[in-house]
Protein backbone atom coordinates (compact mmCIF):
# COMPACT_ATOMS: atom_id res chain seq x y z
CA UNK A 1 0.00 0.00 0.00
CA UNK A 2 3.09 2.23 0.48
CA UNK A 3 3.51 2.45 -3.29
CA UNK A 4 0.01 3.91 -3.75
CA UNK A 5 -0.63 7.60 -4.30
CA UNK A 6 -2.93 9.45 -1.92
CA UNK A 7 -5.35 9.90 -4.81
CA UNK A 8 -5.29 6.18 -5.72
CA UNK A 9 -5.59 5.10 -2.10
CA UNK A 10 -8.58 7.39 -1.46
CA UNK A 11 -10.29 6.14 -4.64
CA UNK A 12 -9.72 2.50 -3.61
CA UNK A 13 -11.12 3.19 -0.15
CA UNK A 14 -14.16 5.02 -1.55
CA UNK A 15 -14.93 2.14 -3.92
CA UNK A 16 -14.55 -0.46 -1.18
CA UNK A 17 -11.60 -2.12 -2.88
CA UNK A 18 -9.53 -1.29 0.22
CA UNK A 19 -10.26 -0.32 3.80
CA UNK A 20 -9.14 2.82 5.60
CA UNK A 21 -8.34 0.67 8.64
CA UNK A 22 -5.80 -1.33 6.60
CA UNK A 23 -4.30 1.84 5.08
CA UNK A 24 -3.71 3.30 8.54
CA UNK A 25 -2.35 0.00 9.87
CA UNK A 26 0.06 -0.19 6.92
CA UNK A 27 1.25 3.36 7.58
CA UNK A 28 1.99 2.57 11.24
CA UNK A 29 3.78 -0.65 10.18
CA UNK A 30 5.98 1.36 7.84
CA UNK A 31 6.62 4.00 10.52
CA UNK A 32 7.59 1.23 12.98
CA UNK A 33 9.92 -0.19 10.35
CA UNK A 34 11.83 2.94 9.31
CA UNK A 35 11.21 5.88 11.62
CA UNK A 36 13.91 4.84 14.11
CA UNK A 37 16.42 5.74 11.37
CA UNK A 38 14.50 8.73 9.92
CA UNK A 39 13.27 10.37 13.13
CA UNK A 40 10.38 12.25 11.52
CA UNK A 41 7.64 11.56 14.07
CA UNK A 42 7.42 13.11 17.53
CA UNK A 43 4.18 11.39 18.50
CA UNK A 44 1.84 8.82 16.97
CA UNK A 45 -1.93 8.88 17.43
CA UNK A 46 -2.53 5.14 16.90
CA UNK A 47 -5.85 4.67 18.69
CA UNK A 48 -7.52 7.81 17.41
CA UNK A 49 -6.34 7.15 13.84
CA UNK A 50 -7.67 3.57 13.99
CA UNK A 51 -11.05 4.83 15.26
CA UNK A 52 -11.25 7.50 12.60
CA UNK A 53 -10.39 4.95 9.91
CA UNK A 54 -13.00 2.49 11.20
CA UNK A 55 -15.58 5.28 11.11
CA UNK A 56 -14.66 6.06 7.48
CA UNK A 57 -15.09 2.39 6.49
CA UNK A 58 -18.39 2.23 8.36
CA UNK A 59 -19.76 5.34 6.68
CA UNK A 60 -18.81 3.96 3.27
CA UNK A 61 -20.48 0.62 4.04
CA UNK A 62 -23.63 2.52 5.03
CA UNK A 63 -23.64 4.19 1.63
CA UNK A 64 -22.49 7.70 2.69
CA UNK A 65 -20.23 9.55 0.28
CA UNK A 66 -16.62 9.95 1.44
CA UNK A 67 -14.27 12.91 1.05
CA UNK A 68 -11.47 13.33 -1.51
CA UNK A 69 -8.78 12.17 0.96
CA UNK A 70 -10.77 9.20 2.29
CA UNK A 71 -8.56 7.19 4.63
CA UNK A 72 -5.28 8.82 3.59
CA UNK A 73 -2.78 8.68 6.51
CA UNK A 74 -1.44 12.20 6.97
CA UNK A 75 1.30 13.71 9.16
CA UNK A 76 0.94 17.14 10.78
CA UNK A 77 3.80 19.51 11.47
CA UNK A 78 4.25 20.13 15.20
CA UNK A 79 2.93 23.71 14.92
CA UNK A 80 -0.68 23.07 13.94
CA UNK A 81 -3.45 22.41 16.39
CA UNK A 82 -5.52 19.24 16.65
CA UNK A 83 -7.88 19.55 19.62
CA UNK A 84 -6.82 17.56 22.66
CA UNK A 85 -3.39 16.73 21.33
CA UNK A 86 -0.01 17.96 22.48
CA UNK A 87 1.69 20.56 20.32
CA UNK A 88 5.27 21.65 21.04
CA UNK A 89 6.37 23.63 17.98
CA UNK A 90 9.72 21.86 18.30
CA UNK A 91 10.31 23.78 21.54
CA UNK A 92 10.79 23.04 25.23
CA UNK A 93 8.76 26.14 26.08
CA UNK A 94 5.57 24.43 24.89
CA UNK A 95 6.21 21.13 26.69
CA UNK A 96 2.90 19.69 27.83
CA UNK A 97 0.74 22.19 25.90
CA UNK A 98 -2.48 20.64 24.58
CA UNK A 99 -4.36 22.34 21.74
CA UNK A 100 -7.82 23.42 22.95
CA UNK A 101 -9.16 23.62 19.38
CA UNK A 102 -8.36 22.38 15.86
CA UNK A 103 -6.62 24.49 13.19
CA UNK A 104 -8.76 25.60 10.22
CA UNK A 105 -6.60 23.72 7.70
CA UNK A 106 -6.65 20.57 9.85
CA UNK A 107 -10.46 20.80 10.20
CA UNK A 108 -10.73 20.85 6.42
CA UNK A 109 -8.26 17.98 6.10
CA UNK A 110 -10.31 15.85 8.49
CA UNK A 111 -13.56 16.92 6.80
CA UNK A 112 -12.03 15.55 3.56
CA UNK A 113 -11.67 12.25 5.49
CA UNK A 114 -7.88 12.23 5.75
CA UNK A 115 -6.59 10.50 8.88
CA UNK A 116 -4.00 12.40 10.98
CA UNK A 117 -1.58 9.74 12.24
CA UNK A 118 0.84 11.88 14.25
CA UNK A 119 2.90 15.03 14.53
CA UNK A 120 6.29 15.45 12.92
CA UNK A 121 9.50 17.26 13.79
CA UNK A 122 10.42 20.84 12.86
CA UNK A 123 12.92 23.56 13.67
CA UNK A 124 11.92 25.29 16.89
CA UNK A 125 9.15 27.80 16.07
CA UNK A 126 9.84 27.07 12.36
CA UNK A 127 13.13 28.96 12.60
CA UNK A 128 15.67 27.04 10.59
CA UNK A 129 16.53 25.34 7.32
CA UNK A 130 17.72 21.93 8.52
CA UNK A 131 15.40 20.75 11.32
CA UNK A 132 18.46 20.82 13.60
CA UNK A 133 17.00 23.63 15.68
CA UNK A 134 14.36 21.26 17.04
CA UNK A 135 14.72 20.89 20.81
CA UNK A 136 13.00 17.51 20.61
CA UNK A 137 14.54 15.16 18.02
CA UNK A 138 16.99 14.74 15.16
CA UNK A 139 15.46 14.09 11.76
CA UNK A 140 17.60 12.56 9.01
CA UNK A 141 17.31 12.79 5.25
CA UNK A 142 15.87 9.48 3.96
CA UNK A 143 18.22 9.67 0.95
CA UNK A 144 21.30 9.72 3.17
CA UNK A 145 21.10 9.66 6.99
CA UNK A 146 24.21 11.89 7.32
CA UNK A 147 22.35 14.69 5.55
CA UNK A 148 19.84 17.25 6.83
CA UNK A 149 16.23 16.83 5.67
CA UNK A 150 15.93 20.60 5.26
CA UNK A 151 13.66 22.78 7.30
CA UNK A 152 11.75 23.92 8.98
CA UNK A 153 9.18 21.32 7.80
CA UNK A 154 11.92 18.64 7.79
CA UNK A 155 9.78 16.05 9.56
CA UNK A 156 6.95 16.49 7.05
CA UNK A 157 9.30 16.10 4.05
CA UNK A 158 11.22 13.15 5.52
CA UNK A 159 8.04 11.26 6.50
CA UNK A 160 6.65 11.60 2.98
CA UNK A 161 9.97 10.77 1.25
CA UNK A 162 10.44 7.65 3.40
CA UNK A 163 6.91 6.52 2.37
CA UNK A 164 5.77 6.55 6.00
CA UNK A 165 2.74 8.55 4.86
CA UNK A 166 1.63 9.64 1.39
CA UNK A 167 0.83 13.14 2.62
CA UNK A 168 1.93 15.70 5.22
CA UNK A 169 1.10 19.28 6.05
CA UNK A 170 3.92 21.75 6.59
CA UNK A 171 4.14 25.50 6.99
CA UNK A 172 6.26 27.92 5.01
CA UNK A 173 7.39 31.38 6.12
CA UNK A 174 10.54 31.85 4.01
CA UNK A 175 10.90 28.47 2.31
CA UNK A 176 10.06 25.99 5.08
CA UNK A 177 7.93 23.73 2.85
CA UNK A 178 9.78 24.14 -0.46
CA UNK A 179 13.39 23.71 0.70
CA UNK A 180 12.85 20.46 2.68
CA UNK A 181 10.68 19.17 -0.18
CA UNK A 182 13.62 19.78 -2.54
CA UNK A 183 16.14 18.18 -0.14
CA UNK A 184 13.97 15.06 0.28
CA UNK A 185 12.83 14.65 -3.35
CA UNK A 186 9.14 15.34 -2.79
CA UNK A 187 6.65 17.96 -3.99
CA UNK A 188 6.00 20.92 -1.68
CA UNK A 189 3.48 23.72 -2.13
CA UNK A 190 3.64 27.16 -0.51
CA UNK A 191 0.20 28.52 -1.44
CA UNK A 192 -0.65 32.15 -2.12
CA UNK A 193 -0.73 34.10 1.15
CA UNK A 194 -4.35 33.95 2.26
CA UNK A 195 -5.20 30.77 0.32
CA UNK A 196 -5.14 28.55 3.44
CA UNK A 197 -6.34 29.52 6.90
CA UNK A 198 -3.68 30.21 9.52
CA UNK A 199 -6.20 29.78 12.35
CA UNK A 200 -4.65 27.33 14.83
CA UNK A 201 -1.13 27.58 13.37
CA UNK A 202 1.42 28.80 15.91
CA UNK A 203 2.48 32.21 14.60
CA UNK A 204 6.08 32.88 13.55
CA UNK A 205 5.74 35.83 11.13
CA UNK A 206 2.04 36.36 10.57
CA UNK A 207 2.33 38.33 7.31
CA UNK A 208 4.30 35.46 5.71
CA UNK A 209 3.19 32.16 7.32
CA UNK A 210 1.20 29.76 5.13
CA UNK A 211 0.23 26.10 5.58
CA UNK A 212 0.67 23.81 2.57
CA UNK A 213 0.96 20.15 1.54
CA UNK A 214 3.95 17.88 0.88
CA UNK A 215 3.41 14.75 -1.23
CA UNK A 216 5.33 12.31 -3.42
CA UNK A 217 3.71 13.58 -6.62
CA UNK A 218 2.07 16.73 -7.93
CA UNK A 219 -1.46 15.36 -8.24
CA UNK A 220 -1.50 14.37 -4.56
CA UNK A 221 -0.23 17.81 -3.56
CA UNK A 222 -2.96 19.45 -5.67
CA UNK A 223 -5.62 17.17 -4.18
CA UNK A 224 -4.50 18.06 -0.66
CA UNK A 225 -4.31 21.79 -1.38
CA UNK A 226 -7.88 21.65 -2.72
CA UNK A 227 -8.95 20.03 0.54
CA UNK A 228 -7.33 22.55 2.91
CA UNK A 229 -7.75 25.81 0.95
CA UNK A 230 -10.66 28.19 1.27
CA UNK A 231 -12.20 30.96 3.36
CA UNK A 232 -12.08 31.00 7.16
CA UNK A 233 -13.59 33.94 9.04
CA UNK A 234 -11.34 33.11 12.01
CA UNK A 235 -8.24 34.23 10.05
CA UNK A 236 -8.73 37.84 8.92
CA UNK A 237 -6.06 37.47 6.21
CA UNK A 238 -7.62 34.33 4.71
CA UNK A 239 -9.08 35.07 1.29
CA UNK A 240 -12.83 34.87 0.73
CA UNK A 241 -12.24 33.53 -2.77
CA UNK A 242 -13.43 29.94 -2.87
CA UNK A 243 -10.74 27.41 -3.80
CA UNK A 244 -11.44 25.87 -7.17
CA UNK A 245 -10.46 22.30 -8.03
CA UNK A 246 -6.71 22.26 -8.48
CA UNK A 247 -6.94 18.90 -10.29
CA UNK A 248 -9.39 19.95 -13.00
CA UNK A 249 -6.87 21.29 -15.50
CA UNK A 250 -3.74 19.76 -14.05
CA UNK A 251 -3.06 17.49 -17.05
CA UNK A 252 -3.49 20.33 -19.58
CA UNK A 253 0.25 20.91 -19.96
CA UNK A 254 2.11 24.16 -20.58
CA UNK A 255 2.31 24.23 -24.38
CA UNK A 256 2.79 27.86 -25.44
CA UNK A 257 2.91 29.17 -21.87
CA UNK A 258 5.52 31.86 -21.20
CA UNK A 259 7.88 30.76 -18.42
CA UNK A 260 10.34 33.36 -17.14
CA UNK A 261 13.75 33.11 -15.56
CA UNK A 262 14.75 36.01 -13.34
CA UNK A 263 17.82 37.86 -14.63
CA UNK A 264 18.95 38.93 -11.15
CA UNK A 265 18.78 35.39 -9.73
CA UNK A 266 22.48 34.83 -10.08
CA UNK A 267 23.78 31.37 -10.79
CA UNK A 268 26.85 32.40 -8.77
CA UNK A 269 25.02 31.37 -5.60
CA UNK A 270 24.51 27.89 -7.06
CA UNK A 271 26.71 24.88 -6.53
CA UNK A 272 27.77 23.43 -9.88
CA UNK A 273 25.45 20.40 -9.63
CA UNK A 274 22.51 22.63 -8.85
CA UNK A 275 23.39 24.95 -11.75
CA UNK A 276 23.50 21.96 -14.10
CA UNK A 277 20.22 20.66 -12.66
CA UNK A 278 18.55 24.02 -13.28
CA UNK A 279 19.85 24.18 -16.86
CA UNK A 280 18.43 20.72 -17.50
CA UNK A 281 15.13 21.76 -15.90
CA UNK A 282 14.87 24.68 -18.34
CA UNK A 283 15.48 22.28 -21.24
CA UNK A 284 12.74 20.02 -19.85
CA UNK A 285 10.30 22.94 -19.65
CA UNK A 286 11.12 23.82 -23.26
CA UNK A 287 10.42 20.19 -24.27
CA UNK A 288 7.06 20.55 -22.53
CA UNK A 289 6.30 23.37 -24.97
CA UNK A 290 6.97 26.33 -22.66
CA UNK A 291 8.29 29.50 -24.23
CA UNK A 292 11.26 30.59 -22.09
CA UNK A 293 11.70 34.31 -21.55
CA UNK A 294 13.86 36.41 -19.24
CA UNK A 295 12.33 38.90 -16.84
CA UNK A 296 13.77 41.40 -14.38
CA UNK A 297 12.99 41.49 -10.65
CA UNK A 298 15.95 43.55 -9.36
CA UNK A 299 14.92 43.48 -5.70
CA UNK A 300 15.24 39.67 -5.41
CA UNK A 301 18.85 40.44 -4.49
CA UNK A 302 17.60 42.21 -1.36
CA UNK A 303 15.15 39.47 -0.40
CA UNK A 304 17.13 37.46 2.17
CA UNK A 305 18.11 40.58 4.14
CA UNK A 306 14.58 42.02 3.88
CA UNK A 307 13.07 38.72 4.95
CA UNK A 308 15.28 38.33 8.03
CA UNK A 309 14.38 41.84 9.21
CA UNK A 310 10.62 41.52 8.69
CA UNK A 311 10.20 37.89 9.78
CA UNK A 312 12.26 38.33 12.95
CA UNK A 313 10.59 41.63 13.82
CA UNK A 314 7.22 39.92 13.65
CA UNK A 315 8.59 36.92 15.54
CA UNK A 316 9.90 39.10 18.36
CA UNK A 317 6.35 40.44 18.82
CA UNK A 318 4.53 37.13 18.26
CA UNK A 319 6.74 35.21 20.67
CA UNK A 320 6.22 37.72 23.46
CA UNK A 321 3.19 35.64 24.45
CA UNK A 322 5.42 32.80 25.66
CA UNK A 323 6.13 34.13 29.13
CA UNK A 324 5.19 31.30 31.48
CA UNK A 325 1.89 32.80 32.62
CA UNK A 326 -0.78 31.07 30.55
CA UNK A 327 0.73 27.89 29.08
CA UNK A 328 3.95 26.03 28.54
CA UNK A 329 7.08 26.14 30.65
CA UNK A 330 7.26 28.30 33.78
CA UNK A 331 10.55 28.89 35.57
CA UNK A 332 10.45 27.70 39.19
CA UNK A 333 10.91 29.99 42.17
CA UNK A 334 10.39 33.37 40.50
CA UNK A 335 9.92 36.17 43.08
CA UNK A 336 8.24 38.61 40.72
CA UNK A 337 6.27 38.62 37.49
CA UNK A 338 9.24 40.02 35.55
CA UNK A 339 11.50 37.32 36.93
CA UNK A 340 8.99 34.67 35.84
CA UNK A 341 8.83 36.11 32.31
CA UNK A 342 12.60 36.28 31.90
CA UNK A 343 13.28 32.94 33.57
CA UNK A 344 10.61 31.03 31.63
CA UNK A 345 11.68 32.45 28.26
CA UNK A 346 15.39 32.00 28.93
CA UNK A 347 14.95 28.35 29.98
CA UNK A 348 12.33 27.54 27.33
CA UNK A 349 13.73 28.98 24.10
CA UNK A 350 16.72 27.51 22.26
CA UNK A 351 19.65 29.55 20.90
CA UNK A 352 18.31 30.21 17.38
CA UNK A 353 14.98 31.47 18.70
CA UNK A 354 16.80 33.76 21.15
CA UNK A 355 19.06 35.02 18.37
CA UNK A 356 16.08 35.85 16.18
CA UNK A 357 14.10 37.50 18.95
CA UNK A 358 17.13 39.68 19.73
CA UNK A 359 17.56 40.53 16.03
CA UNK A 360 13.85 41.41 15.69
CA UNK A 361 13.84 43.44 18.89
CA UNK A 362 16.90 45.31 17.63
CA UNK A 363 15.23 46.06 14.24
CA UNK A 364 12.16 47.43 16.03
CA UNK A 365 13.99 49.32 18.75
CA UNK A 366 14.03 53.08 19.10
CA UNK A 367 16.66 54.65 16.85
CA UNK A 368 16.87 51.65 14.51
CA UNK A 369 13.22 51.16 13.47
CA UNK A 370 13.34 53.33 10.33
CA UNK A 371 16.76 52.10 9.24
CA UNK A 372 15.80 48.43 9.48
CA UNK A 373 12.10 47.59 9.78
CA UNK A 374 10.85 50.64 7.89
CA UNK A 375 13.31 50.21 5.04
CA UNK A 376 12.68 46.45 4.79
CA UNK A 377 8.92 47.02 4.71
CA UNK A 378 9.26 49.48 1.84
CA UNK A 379 11.52 47.12 -0.09
CA UNK A 380 9.03 44.25 0.38
CA UNK A 381 6.25 46.42 -1.05
CA UNK A 382 8.39 47.39 -4.04
CA UNK A 383 9.43 43.76 -4.57
CA UNK A 384 5.79 42.75 -4.76
CA UNK A 385 5.24 45.38 -7.44
CA UNK A 386 8.26 44.14 -9.41
CA UNK A 387 6.90 40.57 -9.33
CA UNK A 388 3.53 41.87 -10.49
CA UNK A 389 5.21 43.60 -13.47
CA UNK A 390 7.19 40.42 -14.25
CA UNK A 391 3.96 38.43 -14.41
CA UNK A 392 2.80 40.75 -17.23
CA UNK A 393 5.64 39.27 -19.29
CA UNK A 394 5.44 35.62 -18.21
CA UNK A 395 2.66 33.47 -16.73
CA UNK A 396 5.14 31.59 -14.56
CA UNK A 397 8.63 32.16 -13.17
CA UNK A 398 11.15 29.46 -12.30
CA UNK A 399 14.22 29.31 -10.04
CA UNK A 400 16.14 26.54 -8.34
CA UNK A 401 14.49 25.83 -4.97
CA UNK A 402 17.80 25.89 -3.13
CA UNK A 403 21.44 26.71 -4.05
CA UNK A 404 22.43 23.07 -3.43
CA UNK A 405 21.12 19.64 -2.57
CA UNK A 406 20.97 18.61 1.09
CA UNK A 407 23.93 19.62 3.24
CA UNK A 408 25.42 17.55 6.06
CA UNK A 409 23.88 17.52 9.52
CA UNK A 410 26.02 19.74 11.74
CA UNK A 411 27.65 21.54 8.82
CA UNK A 412 25.95 24.92 9.30
CA UNK A 413 24.59 24.92 12.87
CA UNK A 414 27.28 27.29 14.13
CA UNK A 415 26.99 29.65 11.17
CA UNK A 416 23.49 31.17 11.18
CA UNK A 417 24.18 33.49 8.25
CA UNK A 418 25.24 30.57 6.02
CA UNK A 419 22.01 28.81 7.04
CA UNK A 420 19.95 31.94 6.18
CA UNK A 421 21.57 32.22 2.75
CA UNK A 422 20.22 28.81 1.77
CA UNK A 423 16.83 30.59 1.57
CA UNK A 424 18.00 32.90 -1.23
CA UNK A 425 15.51 31.54 -3.81
CA UNK A 426 12.52 31.01 -1.54
CA UNK A 427 12.33 34.25 0.48
CA UNK A 428 11.40 36.53 -2.49
CA UNK A 429 8.26 34.45 -3.07
CA UNK A 430 7.27 34.70 0.57
CA UNK A 431 7.71 38.47 0.67
CA UNK A 432 5.61 38.84 -2.49
CA UNK A 433 2.85 36.60 -1.10
CA UNK A 434 2.79 34.56 -4.31
CA UNK A 435 2.49 30.77 -4.64
CA UNK A 436 5.58 28.57 -5.07
CA UNK A 437 5.75 24.86 -5.87
CA UNK A 438 8.95 22.85 -5.46
CA UNK A 439 9.06 19.81 -7.74
CA UNK A 440 11.98 17.34 -7.91
CA UNK A 441 14.28 17.92 -10.90
CA UNK A 442 16.69 15.01 -10.62
CA UNK A 443 19.67 14.06 -8.46
CA UNK A 444 23.03 15.72 -7.94
CA UNK A 445 26.38 13.91 -8.28
CA UNK A 446 26.05 12.68 -4.68
CA UNK A 447 22.71 11.05 -5.50
CA UNK A 448 20.70 13.64 -3.56
CA UNK A 449 17.56 15.30 -4.94
CA UNK A 450 17.38 18.82 -6.37
CA UNK A 451 14.25 20.94 -6.66
CA UNK A 452 12.80 23.31 -9.24
CA UNK A 453 10.68 26.16 -7.88
CA UNK A 454 7.71 27.27 -10.00
CA UNK A 455 6.11 30.61 -9.14
CA UNK A 456 2.82 32.13 -10.26
CA UNK A 457 0.85 35.33 -9.67
CA UNK A 458 -1.34 35.51 -6.55
CA UNK A 459 -4.12 32.89 -6.55
CA UNK A 460 -2.75 31.19 -9.68
CA UNK A 461 -1.64 28.25 -7.50
CA UNK A 462 -3.38 25.96 -10.01
CA UNK A 463 -1.25 27.20 -12.91
CA UNK A 464 1.96 26.54 -10.95
CA UNK A 465 0.70 23.03 -10.14
CA UNK A 466 -0.23 22.40 -13.78
CA UNK A 467 3.33 23.30 -14.83
CA UNK A 468 4.78 21.18 -12.03
CA UNK A 469 2.69 18.23 -13.24
CA UNK A 470 3.83 18.69 -16.86
CA UNK A 471 7.43 18.87 -15.63
CA UNK A 472 7.01 15.76 -13.47
CA UNK A 473 5.48 13.82 -16.38
CA UNK A 474 8.42 14.75 -18.57
CA UNK A 475 11.16 13.89 -16.02
CA UNK A 476 9.48 10.75 -14.69
CA UNK A 477 11.19 11.34 -11.31
CA UNK A 478 10.25 8.84 -8.62
CA UNK A 479 10.96 9.35 -4.95
CA UNK A 480 12.74 6.12 -3.96
CA UNK A 481 15.44 6.85 -1.39
CA UNK A 482 17.64 3.77 -1.07
CA UNK A 483 18.55 4.38 2.56
CA UNK A 484 15.01 3.38 3.62
CA UNK A 485 14.05 1.00 0.79
Amino acid sequence: MQAMTAEGLAAAIRSGERNAVDAVEAAFARIDEVDASVGAFLELWRDEAAERAADIDRRRDEGSPLGPLAGVPTALKDNMSLAGHELNCGSRILAGYRAPYTAGAVERLVAADAVPVGRVNMDEFAMGSSCENSALATTRNPWNPAMAPGGSSGGSAAAVAAAEVPLALGSDTGGSIRQPAAFCGVVGVKPTYGRVSRYGLVAFASSLDQIGPLARNVRDAALALGAIAGPDPRDSTCSEEPACGFLERIEDGIEGLKVGTIREVGTSALESDAARGFEQALETLARCGAELVEVSVPLVEAAVATYYVLANSEASANLARFDGSRYGHRAAGARSLAEMYTGSRSEGFGPEVKRRIILGTFALSSGYYDAYYGRAARIAGALRQQFSDAFDKAELLVTPTSPSGAFKLGERVDDPLAMYLSDVFTTPTSLAGIPGVSVPCGLDSRGLPLGLQILARPFADGTALRAARAFERETGFECRPEAVS
Binding site: G194, A302, R326
Partner: protein, 105 residues
Protein backbone atom coordinates in the same frame (compact mmCIF):
# COMPACT_ATOMS: atom_id res chain seq x y z
CA UNK B 1 27.47 47.78 11.96
CA UNK B 2 28.79 45.65 14.77
CA UNK B 3 26.90 44.78 17.92
CA UNK B 4 28.91 44.75 21.12
CA UNK B 5 28.32 42.56 24.14
CA UNK B 6 26.73 45.50 26.01
CA UNK B 7 24.30 46.16 23.17
CA UNK B 8 23.32 42.48 22.94
CA UNK B 9 22.72 42.38 26.70
CA UNK B 10 20.55 45.52 26.51
CA UNK B 11 18.40 44.17 23.66
CA UNK B 12 18.08 40.78 25.37
CA UNK B 13 16.78 42.55 28.47
CA UNK B 14 14.22 44.43 26.35
CA UNK B 15 13.09 41.06 24.98
CA UNK B 16 12.95 39.54 28.49
CA UNK B 17 15.76 37.09 27.80
CA UNK B 18 18.66 36.26 30.09
CA UNK B 19 21.72 35.02 28.27
CA UNK B 20 24.96 33.66 29.69
CA UNK B 21 28.28 35.46 29.35
CA UNK B 22 29.38 32.90 26.78
CA UNK B 23 26.16 33.36 24.78
CA UNK B 24 26.64 37.13 24.90
CA UNK B 25 30.01 36.81 23.19
CA UNK B 26 28.82 34.27 20.62
CA UNK B 27 25.62 36.21 19.88
CA UNK B 28 27.51 39.51 19.55
CA UNK B 29 29.79 38.02 16.90
CA UNK B 30 27.01 36.14 15.03
CA UNK B 31 24.55 39.04 15.16
CA UNK B 32 27.20 41.51 14.00
CA UNK B 33 27.80 39.34 10.95
CA UNK B 34 24.04 39.15 10.27
CA UNK B 35 23.50 42.91 10.79
CA UNK B 36 26.44 43.59 8.45
CA UNK B 37 24.71 41.46 5.84
CA UNK B 38 21.37 43.19 6.44
CA UNK B 39 23.06 46.59 6.08
CA UNK B 40 23.30 45.93 2.33
CA UNK B 41 19.64 47.03 2.25
CA UNK B 42 20.95 50.61 2.29
CA UNK B 43 21.89 50.08 -1.35
CA UNK B 44 18.31 49.29 -2.33
CA UNK B 45 15.49 51.72 -2.83
CA UNK B 46 12.03 50.62 -1.79
CA UNK B 47 10.46 53.88 -2.98
CA UNK B 48 7.30 54.83 -1.18
CA UNK B 49 5.67 51.40 -1.08
CA UNK B 50 4.67 50.20 2.35
CA UNK B 51 4.33 46.72 3.74
CA UNK B 52 0.60 47.29 3.93
CA UNK B 53 0.58 46.98 0.16
CA UNK B 54 1.83 43.42 0.34
CA UNK B 55 -1.38 41.73 1.26
CA UNK B 56 -3.89 44.39 0.30
CA UNK B 57 -5.44 41.96 -2.17
CA UNK B 58 -6.22 39.37 0.43
CA UNK B 59 -7.28 41.46 3.42
CA UNK B 60 -10.69 40.33 4.56
CA UNK B 61 -10.76 41.53 8.15
CA UNK B 62 -14.11 41.05 9.81
CA UNK B 63 -15.58 44.02 11.59
CA UNK B 64 -14.05 44.00 15.04
CA UNK B 65 -17.14 43.82 17.21
CA UNK B 66 -17.51 42.19 20.60
CA UNK B 67 -19.66 39.09 20.59
CA UNK B 68 -21.77 37.84 23.48
CA UNK B 69 -20.32 35.00 25.54
CA UNK B 70 -21.65 31.69 24.25
CA UNK B 71 -22.38 28.34 25.84
CA UNK B 72 -19.35 26.85 24.08
CA UNK B 73 -16.95 29.19 25.90
CA UNK B 74 -17.16 27.10 29.09
CA UNK B 75 -15.31 23.97 27.90
CA UNK B 76 -12.75 26.14 26.08
CA UNK B 77 -12.08 28.03 29.31
CA UNK B 78 -11.52 24.71 31.11
CA UNK B 79 -9.05 23.58 28.44
CA UNK B 80 -7.34 26.95 28.58
CA UNK B 81 -6.93 26.65 32.33
CA UNK B 82 -5.74 23.03 31.98
CA UNK B 83 -2.77 24.41 30.05
CA UNK B 84 -1.94 26.99 32.71
CA UNK B 85 1.14 26.35 34.86
CA UNK B 86 -0.88 27.51 37.91
CA UNK B 87 -4.53 28.51 38.39
CA UNK B 88 -7.09 29.00 41.13
CA UNK B 89 -10.83 28.72 40.38
CA UNK B 90 -11.19 30.55 37.07
CA UNK B 91 -8.03 32.63 37.41
CA UNK B 92 -4.40 32.28 36.42
CA UNK B 93 -1.93 32.37 39.30
CA UNK B 94 1.26 34.35 38.79
CA UNK B 95 3.92 35.78 41.14
CA UNK B 96 3.45 39.28 42.51
CA UNK B 97 4.20 42.14 40.17
CA UNK B 98 6.58 43.62 42.75
CA UNK B 99 9.44 41.42 43.87
CA UNK B 100 9.23 40.04 47.39
CA UNK B 101 12.02 38.27 49.18
CA UNK B 102 9.74 35.34 50.12
CA UNK B 103 9.55 33.59 46.72
CA UNK B 104 6.54 32.68 44.54
CA UNK B 105 3.96 32.12 47.29
Amino acid sequence: MSLGVEEVRRIAELARLRISAREETTFASQLSEIVDYIDQLREFDGGTASQDDIHAASETADSDLPRPASATDGPLLDQFLDNAPASLDRFLLVPQVKATPGGEE
